[in-house]
């Protein structure tokens, strides 16, 4: 089979199209965030008129948010809760997904469906029951309550996604492992986990953001300011009067709440591209 290279201009056109698409995706994704940032630099009356470029760089909203509201503490709490939730989920999911994807046993389909069922209820419906459970465990007003309750939506997600990706890996891997006499645990952690890196990072990131942004459980199960997470802290920002929304402060906090995620994605996104393409496996 001969491979005819495309003409030069054809390639150029393709490149231009690619960059054009990249610019469009970039603008659409970032514009509202940029707009939030703009708003966070403005104050009072300016908020009501649209504008696209910053006129002033007034950082006072950031100063007031950081000094008055303890948002720094909330950022730390959110980080701790999200990290522990995702860490726990990935740990138990990787072994579960290995079993579900690569071992033939009865009741597997039912098991997967049952796990999925847990994320089919409206959150508000499980709120009361979860509250009772939290109090039973003595975890009210404790970050542990959040980690525990976040498992209900994170775990089904990580198990399902990892199972799917685990299934798509070639079959000879574990043959090799088992013939070497390696234990299942070693097979999983040494052979599979590295290959699943892109999937694990992706799943982890998505679950992390999910936990980071959760609001209803965080509002209900925690009451003291020192245990509060970011979305709740933002919802408690008050204006000078009851109806007034302190828009500039809300935007400043939102920018602060989004920054850690951006940093995280920057750190981890390189790992998304590793995996099979980097040639860890010879088929």
């Amino acid at each position: 089979m001969s491979f005819t290279p495309a003409p030069r201009w054809h390639k150029l056109l393709g490149r231009t199209g690619l960059y054009l698409a990249a610019v469009v995706v970039f603008v659409v994704s970032v514009f509202p965030f940029y707009y939030a940032f703009l708003t966070s630099l403005r104050s009072g009356q300016d908020l009501f008129t649209p504008s696209y470029l910053p006129e002033v760089f007034d950082w006072s909203n950031y100063v007031s948010v950081l000094s008055d509201t303890g948002i720094a503490r909330s950022l730390f709490n959110s980080f701790a809760v999200a990290t522990l939730t995702v860490g726990g989920c990935l740990l138990v999911s990787i072994t579960a997904s290995f079993a579900l994807a690569r071992i033939q046993f009865r009741g597997k389909g039912t098991l997967l469906l049952t796990i999925l069922c847990f994320s089919m209820f409206p959150q508000v419906a499980v709120l009361s029951g979860m509250f009772e459970l939290i109090r039973l465990f003595g975890l009210y007003d404790n970050l542990g309550a959040l980690i525990l309750s976040y498992l209900t939506f994170s775990l089904p997600f990580t198990v399902w996604v990892l199972t799917t990706f685990m299934r798509s890996l070639p079959g000879d891997l574990e043959e090799a492992g088992i013939m070497d006499g390696a234990s299942l645990w070693v097979t999983i952690t040494r052979i599979y986990a590295p290959l699943l890196a892109p999937a694990m990072i992706t799943t982890g990131l998505l679950a992390f953001i999910g936990a980071w942004n959760e609001f209803m459980f965080a509002l209900t199960f925690v009451i003291s300011p020192e245990n509060r997470t970011v979305p709740v802290a933002i919802s408690m920002l008050q204006g000078a009067s009851r109806f007034e929304l302190p828009w500039a402060n809300i935007m400043a906090s939102s920018v602060l709440a989004t920054l850690p995620i951006i940093v995280l994605v920057l750190i981890f996104q390189r790992r998304i591209v590793s995996g099979l393409t980097s040639g860890a496996v010879k088929g």
Binding site: A21, F26, Y35, L151, F165, S168, G171, P198, T203
Partner: protein, 328 residues
């Protein structure tokens, strides 16, 4: 193609080996270890989630009030449907419930299909090699990273008829002469909600699909290219079949979320019946009306609807949950 045939031969050999006696015990051993491996996740999940769910089922059969859940009396299926009296009562007899069902199905079908198409395009774009890919990958995730309670309010202001950027941009680009009342007029407000939702959740779909794309061995494309397959053929014959499992899982979780949408709609259009969702309906009964029985019944119906949709996905996508990877 080579990979597929190779695995096929391999699995045939494996199947043959499974029938002799020594390997049968190996199979049993493996099944036992399978349960051991699944156990931590299962125990964790059941210990946290089982009680709230069972409780919701139970309360849906009682006349419990949120004010005094302890004093609930068993009333059978009356929360679902009660034909006694002058009017039919119960969630299923409430025209608003059926309106919410229509709204939710419309919302989910529209947003999820738009997200799938856009997410696929973005994923394919990010799969290319070009300068600035790192920045774009990060930027792309921003909509997903902003807390919903904030992004919903942000869109609310961006949709303001007089001062919102959306109208401002549309007018500057010459698409509209008069400002549109986005979140006010029911015909438009559903679209406003859909636009905000698609913007927010496309990154989820894109990232999942990107991860799936990254797991496809590069040499498959190489050989296809050598065989003279066009880009479209390569996408259709290699990419799509190989990312299908991940795509279906992404679709399932997106749909699950879309079918349970609440806060975005609540912030943008409040309790308007024109855009109410089934989760919004359940919340209204449960929290605003203190009707724990009715609200739980509505939640169970939400569950049944969501479960039905999820199962039909698996059916249509011909996903075999019992399948074992690597031995096709």
């Amino acid at each position: 193609m080579t990979l597929a045939t190779e695995t096929q031969t391999r699995s045939r050999g494996l199947a043959a080996r499974f029938f002799n006696h020594r390997d049968l015990s190996l199979m049993q051993r493996r099944a036992r270890s399978a349960w051991l491996l699944v156990a931590p996740a299962l125990i964790l999940l059941f210990s946290v989630a089982a009680w709230p769910l069972l409780r919701t089922f139970y309360y849906s059969l009682t006349d419990a009030s949120l004010n005094a859940p302890g004093e609930a009396a068993f009333i059978g299926l009356s929360n679902y449907l009660d034909m006694g009296g002058d009017f039919a009562f119960g969630v299923l007899a409430d025209p608003l419930w059926w309106r919410a069902v229509t709204n939710t199905l419309l919302f989910s079908a529209t947003t999820v299909s738009m997200e799938l198409v856009l997410g696929m395009l973005v994923a394919l774009l990010l799969h290319q090699k070009f300068a600035g890919r790192t920045i774009l990958r990060t930027a792309m995730l921003i909509p997903w990273a902003i807390p919903t309670i904030v992004s919903a309010k942000m869109w609310g202001w961006m949709f303001h008829d007089q001062y919102g950027v959306v109208n401002d941009l549309l007018a500057k680009l010459g698409f509209i002469e008069e400002p549109l009342a986005w979140v006010a007029v029911p015909e438009l407000s559903m679209w406003a909600v859909i636009i905000a939702e698609v913007w927010k959740t496309t990154p989820f779909m894109a990232l999942m699909l990107l991860a799936a794309l990254q797991m496809i061995p590069e040499d498959l494309y190489e050989s296809a290219r050598l065989e003279g397959a066009s880009a479209w053929q390569r996408f259709w014959r290699i990419t799509l079949p190989l990312i299908k499992p991940a795509m279906i899982v992404a679709l399932i979780f997106r749909t699950l979320d879309a079918l349970r949408v609440f806060d975005l709609i609540y912030v943008l259009t409040s309790n308007s019946e024109a855009t109410i969702s089934i989760s919004g309906y359940s919340r209204q009964l449960l929290v605003e009306y203190q009707d724990m029985g009715g609200g739980s019944a509505a939640s169970v119906l939400v569950f049944m609807l969501v479960a039905g949709v999820a199962v039909s996905y698996l059916f249509i996508g011909r996903v075999k949950l019992n399948e074992t990877g690597g031995h096709h």
